[in-house]
Symmetry: C2
Subunit: 339 residues, 2 copies
Amino acid sequence: MTELTIQQLEATHLLACKVARAAGDYLREDQLRRRNVTLATREKLNSVDLVTAADEGVEKLIREAILKEYPEHAFIGEESYSAGEEKRFLLKDEPTWIVDPVDGTVNMVHMFPMTAISIGFCVNSIPTVGVVFAPFLGGKGTLYSAIHHPQGGAWLSEFGHDGPSTPLPLTSPPPPLPVDAPKGCLFFGEYGKDRRDHPQSNLTKKATNFVNMATEIGGREGKGGMVHGIRSLGSSTMDMVYVASGQGDIMFEAGCWEWDVCAGIAILLQTGGIVVDSNPPPDLGPTDPIPMANLGGRRYLAIRGCSEDAEGRSAREQQERLVREVWKRTERLDYKRPV
Amino acid sequence: MTELTIQQLEATHLLACKVARAAGDYLREDQLRRRNVTLATREKLNSVDLVTAADEGVEKLIREAILKEYPEHAFIGEESYSAGEEKRFLLKDEPTWIVDPVDGTVNMVHMFPMTAISIGFCVNSIPTVGVVFAPFLGGKGTLYSAIHHPQGGAWLSEFGHDGPSTPLPLTSPPPPLPVDAPKGCLFFGEYGKDRRDHPQSNLTKKATNFVNMATEIGGREGKGGMVHGIRSLGSSTMDMVYVASGQGDIMFEAGCWEWDVCAGIAILLQTGGIVVDSNPPPDLGPTDPIPMANLGGRRYLAIRGCSEDAEGRSAREQQERLVREVWKRTERLDYKRPV
């Protein structure tokens, strides 16, 4: 069991913000150069699973800056994981950085601005500091961050490193969830990279899930959710931070990895949200408390923070109710960790 | 036939930018007030078709500012159209403003920043000046605009009204379309507000279209498009401007209206893109030139501007080829103009 003081966490938060902005500068300069050339990409899994030299350059930049300051900390990064042999989930209780240098690489290749640098820091296996910087979103980039601690906080910064920040969630206190949620919710999900054509493929099931959530109440054999809208941004990191900030209600995503969501989860936890497995645990009774998602489990269902509702239901009661309503309307997805 | 000089068009562009930013200030102030209260909404068609007092306030602000300067111009606005009896498409050749005060109202209610003020100006029924301002995207908002004219231009402005602008498209000259397009394209589309559960409903067909576009080549009985990604932002205005700016390749959307796309189309045309009917015209032969979309037709398929490719195919040849490839993979949608 590691104990870090709020001062120590503030120092890691400050470093993560600084490093994320430096990584963002790197990507912005890279994009400026690209405005006259087409970006070289390499395929990983298939033609939609891309890696660019920038992904690898940024991971190196982040890793070096962090380990210079904290040589005793562990470090898990997407690109080194992908290149390596070890595929188990390696998080232990020791202080560990979990980093995605570029989430939304496809977007970056197309210059669609939903691309993020995601720097998470775990203590005792809990996402504790999170920094998500979207360098192309707005003139100065958009930075979301949090220290998950009773004396911590969560912030949105859109005016550069010396500009003002806005506390998160954006609406404070956050409103209760809609009474008939998922009806009235804003739902974020992605089609992902598994594009196989098969009735039981993840692509087919995800598409079914989206239609269920969107359809009028009573439709789809009772599975219609009549959400306000389905949003697909091509970045599970951004999906998660929008829900964490109260700019959306539900994030449902499977197939991504701990580095895609770790930083966002730190923000989500600090703003009162929850994240559980997007597949219902097999032995869970109808009134059992719902366990938090396994960070390495590749399946995430996040619900934003909220206040007690008019009938006196607590945030947790509303959130767990909504989780069960989403589970009822969605098919189990087949993503596992390689062993 | 009206003839406006480039100087006259520059004056309308300047006014539209000024008015869009003023409308954005109005929405930002409104959102700041809302951070402590829940926004009152009124349903139009159903529980996902919302209008707020801000939508109506902003339309009034824009209409008054424009008609004060140009009392002789015609004006078509979403909110006054919705409230009125006349449902025909009223555009004539006279100078006409076509305005959506708030596109992405659902997003605004949830504080998801994909909300835009869309101010288009048509001359001889052609979108000629377009200004799209997303006031919540980045600290100073994000403004896309164009004057569609040989001496015109198109610009992205992310640093406030006195900050620098970037010429559009972002990559100049724009790259050719991918050789096997739609494979490798970034595709934008929306589920929309029609949520009826029926095998032939627009929702069902749109979902089918998205899965077709996403599936591997050869899948879905030959309809698999293996696009790089499907993006749904909840704002057809923003979908259109991302394609117009070269930050995406294909925008496929039906059910929206002329005010959602008019301004974006002016930008698209100036950057070399095309927009056609998302349903193939019934009598079109396989080598016939493809006509431009009817601006009031509620069905839009836009393809970004591009340069001649390595085999010497012109931009138009690549674009028309891609249009036909998208048509092959998508079902005809049932949106018409009310008469």
